[in-house]
Amino acid sequence: MIVGEQKPFEEVWNQVKHHKRLLVFGCNTCVAVCHQGGNKEAGVLASLLRMRATQDEVDIEIIDSGIERQCEHEFFERTEELVAGAEAVLSLACGIGVQFMAGKYPDTPIYPALNTTFLGDVPETGVFTEKCQACGDCVLGATGGVCPVSRCAKRVLNGPCGGSNKGMCEISKDTECAWQLVVERLERLGKLDDYEKVQPIKDWSKDRSGGPRSFRLEDFS
């Protein structure tokens, strides 16, 4: 799923304080799981903004609401009026939701309340870790199910580099060395011989480098 983190409150406040009627709008799927951008968090953020407005004697009407997903048209049906009536929207969605709304409501300023941080999982309650960079050409089959593109700071395809130290990465004692994990996993699967196969030079044109990516389901068009 997509993981995001709320921007510092001051940054959020400075983006929106000059508006008169603001909709604080949650997105209740991915970013709700990490308790940063769901409809509940939208309510809390709206309260904090109202308190700040009162404190600074700023005249601003703040409404809070949310939908299941800000990245698809059908979810907006119930809230069309609410959005149409707002002077600006503070979206708690990821960057995708913010852009989807900006495209859908071309005359309304849409501000991000979150920094979209990564594609990750929830290994334990309250912990979120990056697991994918959407490189467009998955190598997990060759690396024992551990992604070196997202989990190695140098995204080396033939690791580990010289900075692997007792299972940890040179950049931080809290970051596991992805290649240590690859080796352990290959060993466990009885495939350590695969380690010696030189991974070919990657085609990064399928990554961000190749420009914005999209695809179309022919049956639906």
């Binding site: 700071a153 033939n158 690791g159 900075g163 130290n165 007792k166 040179e170």
Partner: protein, 312 residues
């Protein structure tokens, strides 16, 4: 191993059966190359080739390629260090052509330290290729006379291709397979991480010989003299992949402070003498960090001077 393919003096020394000696210089953080030329002049008669680091520890410096050109013009045989951190395949291949156009005949392919260690931690990193794939790239350009795109290179870069190896990195049991992988990628010479734990290095070399890898690649053992007990402690604690045994620290501690650097040199000389006897050690890479003036003494005391004459 194959016949000489390049104009590299290092390659000729190794292929004529001599134990080679290389050293290393770091370019300055300035556009004045005088400093690195001086360093080169200091050690030129005591080494076969000299590595020039590429923005080491991710700190911005005069580029490795330009520094290599300065040294080449002074008659040295430079080893162009190239990290894959800062340049994509277009820039790397372009720089290889540029280096070859100046007659630079050695390249050492490296990953590079992560930029978070350097002076621009906010920088984007590239890592289009990894170090092993850079080895493959240089070999492909040289041997197939093609760019990675498949386009023909009329005059390919004729480079002797090296890679680094760290016998002390984790996990230890893949360190021999990792060397095999670098050889499969096309590495012709290897310069190792600084060796302080000789017993562990010997264990690694046993594994190397068991697979006959020492017959497929020239292994230059990395030597860095300790200047003080403080330096030894720092390397032990703070540098990933560095194995400094407690005995070495105790030995330096047992010597009065003023004489610790001298003791460090003696330890380096003793290490070389012991390593010289190991089957499969093809030479030494003496990295005296910001202490290049000591290289001649280490080389002489280790019995590695004079250097053999070859048609470089």
């Amino acid at each position: 191993m194959s016949a000489t393919t390049t104009k590299s003096r290092l390659e000729q020394v190794l292929k004529s059966g001599h134990q080679a000696v290389t050293s290393e210089c770091g370019p300055p953080r300035s556009s004045d190359a005088a400093h690195i030329i001086e360093k080169g002049e200091l050690i030129k008669d005591h080494v076969d080739a000299i590595n020039v680091t590429d923005n080491q520890t991710s700190v911005t410096r005069l580029c490795s390629l330009a520094a290599c050109v300065h040294l080449k013009l002074k008659g040295l045989d430079p080893v162009l260090q190239m990290v894959v951190r800062d340049r994509n395949r277009i820039a790397l291949q372009s720089d290889l052509l540029g280096a070859a156009s100046f007659g630079i005949s050695n390249v050492l392919c490296l990953s590079g330290d992560h930029q978070s260690f350097g002076d621009h931690p906010q920088a984007q990193n590239v890592f289009d290729l990894d170090s092993m794939q850079l080895v493959q790239t240089v070999r492909y350009m040289r041997d197939e006379q093609k760019f990675l795109s498949g386009d023909e290179i009329k005059t390919p870069p004729n480079m002797f291709v090296g890679a680094a190896a760290n016998p002390f990195g984790d996990p230890f049991h893949i360190r021999v397979p990792r060397l095999a992988k670098k050889i499969a990628a096309g590495a012709e010479f290897i310069q190792t991480q600084c060796i302080y734990n000789l017993a562990k290095f010997e264990l690694w070399m046993e594994g190397v010989r068991a697979r006959g890898l020492h017959e497929k690649v020239y292994i230059l053992a990395g030597i860095t003299p300790m200047r003080s007990v403080g330096m030894a402690r720092y390397l032990q604690k703070n540098v990933p992949g560095m194995d400094v045994p407690d005995e070495l620290i105790e030995r330096l501690k047992g010597v009065e402070k003023k004489k610790q650097s001298e003791e460090g040199i003696t330890i380096a000389v003793e290490s070389i003498q012991r390593l010289k006897e190991i089957e499969g050690v093809a030479g030494f890479h003496v990295m005296a960090i910001e202490w290049e003036e000591k290289v001649p003494e280490i080389v002489e005391r280790s019995g590695l001077y004079p250097r053999p004459k070859v048609n470089g």
